[in-house]
């Protein structure tokens, strides 16, 4: 049975995606004009997309339309004009570009900093400090009377073994960054233990980062394989040939120019 034809915009999208992916990966050979073209396209399109979406969502949906509606319904009510306050604060931010009135931006920044700090400080202390300290000093003997759970079950976060490891890790790492005391004798052992904990943490983070980057590569390869089929008019294969031929051509031109320069 013949495959259903894909819409032209889907095929065009596949060609653009496959082409730009290959152009970006051409950087693995060396920096070249194809890579630069796709890099600039990426930056430009991201910014353009963000500006358009912000215009529609922030300006039109959250400011212009509600303002128009409220003024239309009750033009005499002061409440109808309340959105002009955040609008004015937003405009004050832009006065940074005009030196004569740039002092107005301080009002907007003061509002942002004041509001931001007021909202963030108590919540951050509660979530990042108090909750984490609470977890670090878990009791070895649970209040329920279950006794000291010293079994080697690393998968169970609340096991006694994990609690002891966590406590040693936190204390030794904190001590490593405590520079007011010379790290000798018992202090050196503690600081060294802290270094080992840090190295294990960095190793875990690096391992996860490698996994993450490989996953991204798998994602792009998956799309490239999909786009190499007949349904997408062999986009990947055609564009791979175009990319390789372009790189060969560019390399020949660059080498010739370098040769001429050397002769001169």
């Amino acid at each position: 049975m013949p495959e259903a034809m894909l819409p032209p915009e889907t095929i065009l999208g596949a060609w653009v995606a496959a082409g730009l992916t290959l152009f970006i990966y051409s950087f693995l050979y060396k920096d070249n004009p194809l890579f630069k073209l796709s890099e600039h396209l990426y930056v430009g399109i991201s910014v353009g997309y963000s500006v358009v979406l912000a215009w529609h969502t922030v300006f039109l949906r959250l400011l212009w339309e509600p303002l128009k509606k409220s003024i239309g319904e009750a033009p005499a009510s002061p409440d109808s004009y309340v959105l002009l306050i955040p609008a004015a604060l937003g405009l004050f931010m832009l006065t940074r570009f005009i030196p004569q009135v740039s002092w107005l931006s301080r009002i907007a920044f003061a509002f942002v900093v004041g509001f931001g700090s007021g909202v963030a400080i108590p919540r951050t202390i509660s979530s990042y400090i108090l909750k984490q300290i609470e977890d670090t000093v878990n009791p070895l003997v649970p209040a329920a009377g279950g006794g000291f759970s010293a079994f080697m079950d690393f998968a169970l976060p609340q096991s006694g073994v994990n609690t002891v490891i966590l406590l040693i890790g936190v204390v030794s790492v904190l001590f490593y960054f405590f520079f007011s005391v010379e790290h000798t004798g018992a202090g050196m052992v503690t600081a060294r233990t802290g270094i080992y904990f840090l190295m294990i943490a960095f190793g875990a983070a690096f391992g996860y980062t490698v996994m993450s980057r490989i996953s991204l590569l798998i994602g792009r390869f998956r799309d490239l394989i999909t786009f190499s089929g007949a349904a997408y008019s062999y986009a990947t294969l055609v564009l791979l040939a175009v990319t390789v031929l372009s790189l060969v051509g560019w390399e020949v031109v660059v080498r010739r120019q370098n040769g001429e320069r050397t002769r001169e």
């Binding site: 693995l28 050979y29 991201s46 997309y49 963000s50 979406l53 912000a54 969502t57 922030v58 949906r61 959250l62 509600p66 509001f115 909202v119 963030a120 919540r123 951050t124 509660s126 979530s127 990042y128 909750k131 984490q132 609470e134 977890d135 998968a155 976060p157 943490a201 875990a204 983070a205 996860y208 980062t209 490698v210 996994m211 993450s212 490989i214 996953s215 991204l216 590569l217 798998i218 994602g219 792009r220 390869f221 998956r222 394989i225």
Partner: protein, 278 residues
């Protein structure tokens, strides 16, 4: 031996790129089906959703953009398939402006596949500015924060949002995050204040930093990277793109481990030579 080690240490990096490309491509073209073991942190998310009664409110925040699509899109698809299968009411949104179109596409695709209706079974609210302030605003009045959804339909009166006034009416929430504006922000300004249960799905890069939140119970589950997505696909018994990528992932990791070991062997062989690495 030393000559060989010297040649290997100075090998063109592009050879390594080719090795990694081959390690990924070959299993993708001919998968060998390695088993996928489900971790307790992924199972916790599945179990919580599984235990929710029908028509419960499930909030899914797409806090990523296309640069993290290969890792987080499979997680989103698996979670949505599970939520729709359980007949939950799903509210979608994003804190990442550039991820708006991607998130709407995922919603539309999975909803079409499962026969769910926009406005009745799910709503995608889109993006709104503010980050933490937006979460606080949603905690006070959802309709003030999002007067209309992504398709410009007014949110007030939508069947999917019946009985939902603010974040306190959300039964479960998952943030799929690629950075700061995601799981941590939802916990700090959302769950901690408005008391709803939540979990996280993240890219591999930020996953290690989220384990302290998991351990302390601040989030009840964590889906980490493509591996986490594959585990979730295993749990819902619906294989997808994450499961398909796991063989390639394992093969690439194997190649990297072998290369690291070989580099260390060459390093020890050449140690002490003049001009060799120390």
């Amino acid at each position: 031996m030393k000559a060989f080690a010297r040649r290997m240490v100075g090998i063109d990096r592009r050879v390594i790129f080719l090795l990694i490309a081959a390690a990924i491509l070959l299993p993708m073209l001919k998968p060998f089906g390695l088993p996928i073991k489900v971790s307790p942190e992924v199972k916790a998310v599945y179990d919580y959703i599984e235990a929710l009664p029908e028509r419960s409110v499930f909030l899914l925040s797409f806090d990523f953009d296309p640069s993290s699509k290969p890792e987080l899109e499979p997680q989103a698809v698996a979670l949505l398939r599970h939520a729709f299968r359980k007949n939950l009411r799903v509210i979608g949104m994003t804190h990442w402006l550039t991820g708006t179109g991607l998130a709407d596409g995922v919603f539309s695709q999975v909803a079409a596949e499962t026969g769910r209706e926009r406005g009745k079974d799910y709503v995608f609210l889109g993006w709104s500015p503010g980050g933490s302030a937006l979460i606080i605003s949603m905690g006070q009045d959802l309709y003030q924060a999002f007067p209309s959804d992504y398709t410009k339909t007014p949110t007030r009166g939508m069947p999917v949002l019946e009985g939902v006034r603010n974040l306190r009416d959300v039964n479960y929430m998952v943030s799929l995050a690629a950075g700061g504006a995601g799981i941590e922000m939802w916990y700090v300004f959302g769950k901690d204040k408005y008391r709803f249960e939540m979990a996280g799905g993240s890219t591999g890069v930020i996953a290690p930093g989220l384990y302290p939140f998991l351990r302390s119970g601040q989030i009840n589950g964590l889906i980490g990277g493509l591996q986490g997505a594959a585990e979730y696909e295993t749990l819902i018994k619906r294989k997808g793109t994450a499961t398909a990528g796991m063989d390639a992932q394992s093969a690439a990791h194997f190649v990297i481990i072998v290369l690291v070991i070989l580099c260390n062997v060459f390093y020890f062989i050449l140690r002490g030579e003049k001009g060799s690495p120390r």
